[in-house]
C-alpha cells in the first residue's frame, strides 16, 4: 500500500512552492497537481469517516479552481486577478484544517496523537496569522508593506516546515505499521 503522507507533503509542496523559470514562465509546480496529490493522499489514509469523503471533495474543488486560476495566468488574460489567488489561499487554510481533523481522527489515542495535535495547533496558527498579516499589508505604506509581506511569508514558511516534519514522522509510522501488519 502506498504511503499517504508522501502524497500529502508532495501535494502541499506543489501548492506552497511557486517556481517559474527566469520569472517568465508560469509556475512549473502547478497548484492543481498539488491538490490532485492531496485527493489521492487522503484516499490512501487508513480511516473510515465522513470527513475523509468531504475532504477529498474539497480538495477536488480546489484542484478545479486552482486550474482555472493558473490557466487564466498562463493565457495572460488576468480576468480573475489576484483576488482569486488570495481567496484560494484562504480556502487552502480551511482545507488544511479539515485535513488535520481527519489526521487527528486517524491518530486518536495512538502513538502520533500528540505530534498531530501539536502540529495542528502551530501549523494553523502560523498559516492563518500569515494570511491575516498579508491581508492587512495591502493597505499600508510601501516600506511597511514589504516588511509585513515578508513576515507573513516567513510564518507560512515555518508552517510548511512543520508540516514536512510531521509528514516525515507520519510516513515513518506508516511504514512501521505496515511491517507489523505484514508480519502478522
Amino acid at each position: 500500500m502506498k504511503n499517504p503522507y508522501d502524497y500529502l507533503i508532495g501535494g502541499f509542496s506543489f501548492i506552497y512552492v511557486d517556481m517559474s523559470l527566469y520569472g517568465e514562465t508560469p509556475d512549473i509546480l502547478p497548484d492543481f497537481i498539488g491538490y490532485a496529490f492531496f485527493v489521492y493522499g487522503l484516499y490512501l489514509l487508513p480511516v473510515v469517516h465522513n470527513l475523509k469523503l468531504w475532504s477529498e471533495i474539497f480538495a477536488f474543488i480546489l484542484m478545479v479552481m486552482s486550474f482555472l486560476v493558473e490557466l487564466d495566468q498562463w493565457l495572460g488574460s488576468m480576468l480573475l486577478g489576484q483576488v482569486s489567488e488570495q481567496f484560494i489561499q484562504f480556502l487552502l487554510i480551511v482545507f488544511m484544517y479539515c485535513v488535520f481533523q481527519l489526521l487527528l481522527h486517524v491518530h486518536e489515542q495512538k502513538q502520533l496523537e500528540i505530534k498531530t495535535f501539536e502540529t495542528y495547533q502551530k501549523f494553523m496558527a502560523l498559516m492563518l496569522c500569515g494570511f491575516v498579516i498579508q491581508a492587512f499589508a495591502m493597505n499600508v505604506g510601501a516600506s511597511l508593506r514589504e516588511n509585513m509581506l515578508f513576515i507573513g511569508a516567513m510564518l507560512q514558511l515555518m508552517a510548511y516546515i512543520l508540516f514536512s516534519i510531521y509528514c516525515r514522522a507520519g510516513s515513518k509510522y506508516f511504514k512501521e505499521m505496515k511491517k507489523v501488519h505484514s508480519l502478522q
Binding site: M78, L79, G81, Q82, V83, Q86, F90, I93, V94, Y97, Q101, L104, F117, Y120, Q121, K122, M124, A125, L128, C129, F131, V132, I133, A135, F136, M138, N139, V140, A142, R145
Partner: protein
Amino acid sequence: MGDFDNELFDVLKERPDKEPDKVFSNQMRQQLQKGQIVKRKRVSVATILTIPVTMAVLAFLIMICTGQTLDIKSAAQLSITQEKSLVFTGSLCILIALLTFIIFVFSKGYTKGWFIFLMFSLSFLAWVMNTVHAENQHLEEPTVPTNSKSFDHDQDQSLSLSDKEGR
C-alpha cells in the same frame, strides 16, 4: 494507565486528612443559609440618562469657568493626515486583536465549535474589508505614471480590476 500509575494514585486517594473538617463544613453551611445574596443591579432609564447629563453639566461648567466655547464643528473636522493616521492606528489595533484571538483559539486547543467558526469568519472578513479598502483607495487616487521603482512595486501589489474593465 499502567498498574504502577493506579497504585500511585490509590495511595494518594487514601490520604488521611482528605475529608473536610466537620466544624468547618457546618460553619460554611450556616454562612450560606444566612444569605448575603447580592441582587443584580438593574439598569433603568434614569441610569442610562445620568451619564450624558453628567457630561453635559461638566462641559457647561468648563465653558463657564474657562470662558471658552466648545467649537464642535471644527473639532470634528480632522485633517487628512490625522484621518489617515487614525485609520492606520485602527487597522493596526484590529490586526493585533485578530492575531491575539487566533493564537488564543489554537493555544486552547480548540478543534471545533463556535470559536473556530468565529476565527475563520473574522479572518475572511478582515481580508474582504482590506481588499475593498484597497480597491477604493486605488479608485480614489488615480495613478500618474512615473519612472519610480517604488511606484511600480505599488502597482504590482494593488488588486486592480479597473484594468480589466478598460480592456
